[in-house]
Symmetry: C2
Subunit: 160 residues, 2 copies
């Protein structure tokens, strides 16, 4: 699996990964009716660095990295990861997260924070924990899950 | 004290409040060299509702309210408050927070979250606690304080 910076030519592949995630509204706090253009503008915003995970010429996942805060918060990175619905269970998210941790360290970040991990997304919570993240905050009922109602969201954090 | 929506004519007063806060870099995760235009564009961004607290024709404070997240997170409000250096200790922040809680309730929000309360800002932490907020998260060393080095930032939350 090759993880490389995203290029403008990856837009269609990135949207094909984002679209089902956005429309489902179960794991990301994004408007479910978000347009393709808005979604790509959000993911590929100038304050973010975007990557894709590629295997045999197919884009299986994408992630973005940015400073989580400005000013005195710039030494903490924030990332978001999405895996193609066709590539679940193949370790794509784990590989992207490992890549992002290395890349963040190389850029001089001292820590990484996830601001809003939906509590019912147990697969993600376990994966991030296995990669060294701890739950440092719990936001009660902060996420309106389309099937489960208001569920907690978690803040996860690790030093680099 | 009158709390009213901010208008474009308040820009100079808002910047006079923001400038020392931004330059000090002790309580907000904003770049300390942020320009006037960038600061006002941030504070008066289209996704925020901005208010000012006024007494005898003088603007003593300003606050902004917005949804903390999109999509499934839109029922949780986020606010930020700044008080004029000349008006500290007069209850301006408390009055603005009370106003914001009422306003958020009126808009249908179910909760309010502060994402990044600098731990050394004890005055603010105590004030928010006295207004019903609880510390629901602690971000270890997430804020580079110009005098104290890396200090914790707190996530605070209350139902409405």
């Amino acid at each position: 699996m090759l993880i490389r910076p995203a290029s403008p030519e990856d837009a269609a592949a990135i949207w094909s990964i984002m679209e089902p995630v956005v429309r489902a509204g179960e794991t990301y706090a994004l408007d479910r009716d978000m347009s393709r253009d808005d979604a790509l503008a959000y993911w590929l915003a100038p304050d973010k660095e975007a990557f894709v995970a590629e295997q045999d010429g197919a884009v299986l996942g994408t992630y973005v990295l940015r400073p989580n805060q400005a000013g005195g918060g710039r030494h903490v990175a924030n990332c978001a990861y999405m895996t193609s619905a066709h590539a679940m269970g193949r370790g794509v998210a784990r590989r992207m997260c490992e890549h992002s941790l290395d890349h963040a360290r190389a850029l001089g970040y001292k820590a990484m924070q996830f601001n809003f991990v939906v509590g019912t997304n147990e697969r993600a919570v376990r994966l991030w924990q296995s990669l060294g993240f701890e739950i440092v905050g719990r936001l009660p009922g902060a996420f309106a899950h389309p099937a489960h109602g208001d569920v907690d969201a978690l803040v996860m954090f690790r030093q680099l």
